[in-house]
């Protein structure tokens, strides 16, 4: 891999990578069972530089911002490289947000350029706030007769001639990544080139990439994990990234085999889906073969308990490993709570799942399981260069996790107040509660902050969901994370709770319940409230009528328990 210590910016490291491994495959893009794109590092360069030159000609300046709203595909990475080449700042937005949410974040980050897939652009142009969008827009994959509403075709936005590389300093901004805040206060994490270079260095120390390694990119590339492990990490090592245009389970399973995948990052939802599929196959075996399989799993477990031995596991359980392509070295998870039993299930089959923990504000990961030995009950040890400490530990040793590292973001975009609350004396306060075990592994026990992380790895802040309930005919309402109202020493089964305060004399009728359900249905499925409760007192409010959430949560906690929550 490249020696990242000698670089000051991602653009320079990527530029050298493209020159160092010109004939290695860097990107494969597959749509169902058809391969659409296969690029060498040299092809990649040829695609990106004319785009960089066109941006240059469009008077794009160093530090200008380019928002990307795309599913995982080669044009995402080609665009990102062109932006870094020109000294720009990348703003990767979640393609699963609504058009209104996209416009809100585009306005917040003041991006000069937007690169967007056609189907998403169509939705944006139909949104009432579209008229306020003021950016150069490049649309990918638009049909020949498509109405582009003033946008340019990405495929045609290129110029001949060599663009001039614009170097950046380590402390310059590389990306602005929104960790949440579409409905409330946007949290745009401002991440520097140093953040990424340091993160990449420490991650690739633990899990190496090299030419020939194939990483299956399933998590959205706008997500910090995929951006690092599905772009920067493989590229600076000459490895290959495989993109799938569909995430249907059958094609994901097929991709492992077809492309002989080496690494993949997964959220719990997908890993559990794989677990279910494997267990169903095991169940379908004859009793004799199942007995034999269980014996082999037991032998594998015994022989690899202390450290993984992938070659031995492949010999003992060839059919299982063949189903994953036969080249899989590890799967990475993080960002959401993972059931230890699921992690153990895969490890016992000889497929290590490296569980980690991180947050966008800290780059990508702050801890990761190093498999020395595998532990299903922790999120691993701090990565090299990461200092962790626990604030105000309780008698059980559980305290708020604080992190200090070169990977911690510079600040939140345009929000010094929130930045000051979050980064105190150089320590990033994560809001997560944890404890170290005797071996230096971090165990997580819940959250201090009012938010949840879904099985799909999405951070959901209650404030972002509240606007969907604006039409609810009640006196007032508020949304909380259930585990914030009633602390739970685990991170599983998190949910949001709608707290309603009815008008005087108003009753909780079936009609009102139906209205709650109807409002909830307008919320994107992964953000929905799981239940509601009725609160009978006025909400405490500030002079400017904002709900005092901490105080309200305390009041609710004193009087009501989890049993008061009615499923929505």
């Amino acid at each position: 891999m490249l020696n990242l210590d000698q670089y000051t910016c991602l653009g320079a490291a990527l530029r050298d990578a493209l020159d160092r491994w010109p004939n290695e495959i860097c990107l494969i893009e597959s749509d169902r069972d058809k391969e659409k794109t296969r690029l060498t590092y040299s092809d990649f360069k040829e695609m990106a530089l004319p785009l960089a030159r066109a941006l240059e000609d469009a008077e794009f300046l160093p530090g200008n911002r380019v928002a990307i709203i795309m599913t995982n595909q080669s044009k995402w990475l080609v665009t990102a490289y062109a932006v870094f080449f020109c000294g720009g700042v990348l703003v990767p937005l979640d393609y699963k947000l609504t058009a209104a949410e996209h416009l809100q974040l585009l306005s917040h980050c003041k991006s000069q350029v937007l690169v967007v897939e056609y189907y998403l652009w169509r939705a944006i142009t139909q949104s009432p706030d579209f008229k306020n969008l003021n950016a150069l827009v490049l649309v990918t994959e638009a049909p020949p007769s498509a109405e582009l509403a003033g946008a340019y075709r990405w495929e045609e936005f290129r110029r001949k001639g060599d663009p001039e590389f614009v170097p950046r300093r380590r402390e310059d901004v590389a990306c602005i990544v929104y960790s949440s805040g579409t409905g409330g206060r946007p949290k745009g994490c401002v991440l520097t080139h140093e953040n990424y270079l340091e993160q990449c260095k420490s991650l690739t120390t633990l899990y190496r990439f090299w030419p020939g390694v194939r990483y299956l990119s399933i998590l959205p590339t706008n997500h910090a994990i995929d951006f690092m492990v599905g772009f920067i990490g493989p590229f600076v090592c000459g490895a290959c990234v495989v993109h799938l245009r569909t995430l249907r389970p059958e094609f994901v399973r097929d991709a492992f085999v077809r492309y002989k995948i080496t690494y993949v990052s997964l959220v719990p939802l997908v890993l559990k889906n794989l677990e279910r599929g494997l267990k169903a196959k095991f169940e379908a075996l004859s009793s004799g073969r199942r007995f034999l399989l269980n014996q082999l799993i037991a032998v594998n477990k015994f022989l690899t308990g202390w450290r993984p031995d992938i070659h031995l596991s492949r010999l003992l359980l060839p059919q299982v490993h063949k189903a994953f392509g036969g080249g899989l070295l590890a799967m990475f998870t993080g960002g959401a709570f993972m059931e230890p039993s699921t992690l153990q299930f895969f490890y016992d089959l000889g497929i290590p799942v490296a569980n980690g923990y991180g947050l966008t504000e800290a780059g990508t990961s702050i801890t990761l399981n190093d498999l020395k030995p595998f532990r299903a009950d922790t999120v691993g040890k701090p990565l090299p260069g990461v200092e962790l400490r626990l604030l105000n530990p309780d008698p059980d040793g559980i305290g708020e996790v604080a992190v200090r590292s070169k990977t911690v973001m510079a600040h939140y975009l345009d929000d010094p107040e929130l930045t000051a609350q979050t980064i105190v004396d150089g320590w990033l306060l994560t809001g997560d509660l944890g404890r170290f075990d005797g071996h230096g592994h971090l165990q997580l026990f819940g959250r201090k902050k009012n938010m949840i992380v879904t099985e799909g790895g999405k951070n959901i802040y209650p404030e972002d969901v509240e606007t969907y309930f604006d039409s609810l005919p009640v006196k007032e309402y508020c949304i909380f994370a259930a585990n914030y109202l009633w602390s739970a020493k685990n991170l599983g089964q998190e949910m949001l709770v709608l707290v309603t305060h009815l008008e005087q004399g108003q009753e909780l009728t079936d009609t009102l319940k139906e209205e709650m359900v109807a409002c909830n249905r307008h919320v994107p499925d992964f953000k929905r409230a799981g239940g509601f409760l009725v609160w009978e007192r006025d909400f405490p409010r500030t002079a400017s009528m904002k709900i005092k959430r901490t105080e309200l949560a305390e009041e609710i906690r004193k009087i009501l328990g989890r049993g008061a929550v009615v499923t929505l």
């Binding site: 599913t71 699963k96 609504t98 189907y119 998403l120 245009r245 569909t246 995430l247 249907r248 389970p249 059958e250 939802l269 997908v270 889906n273 099985e455 799909g456 249905r521 994107p524 499925d525 992964f526």
Partner: protein, 80 residues
């Protein structure tokens, strides 16, 4: 050519059979995540089955922001 109502009915029939839910419990306005008790990956699986049934290709994004059978039927109808 199917009518929109026919398309919806066929979707409900297929969902009921595949996810083993009594057909009479499903209506067009139901939230399929909730009524069928499925997650987003299982919803994609449903999309594959609908593709086979209607003999039409449905990109994953046709499911984005959709959670009720009627809207899904509308998206499929537009591609028939």
């Amino acid at each position: 050519m199917r009518t929109a109502d026919q398309t919806l009915d066929e979707i409900l029939d297929l969902a009921a059979t595949h996810f083993k839910v009594p057909r009479e419990k499903l209506t067009g306005d139901d939230d399929f995540f909730k009524t069928l008790g499925i997650d987003s990956l299982q919803a994609l699986d449903l999309l594959t089955r609908l593709e086979h049934h209607f003999n039409v290709e449905l990109p994953d994004y046709e499911l984005q922001g959709v959670s009720d059978f009627r809207t899904l039927a509308g998206r499929i109808q537009a591609r028939l």
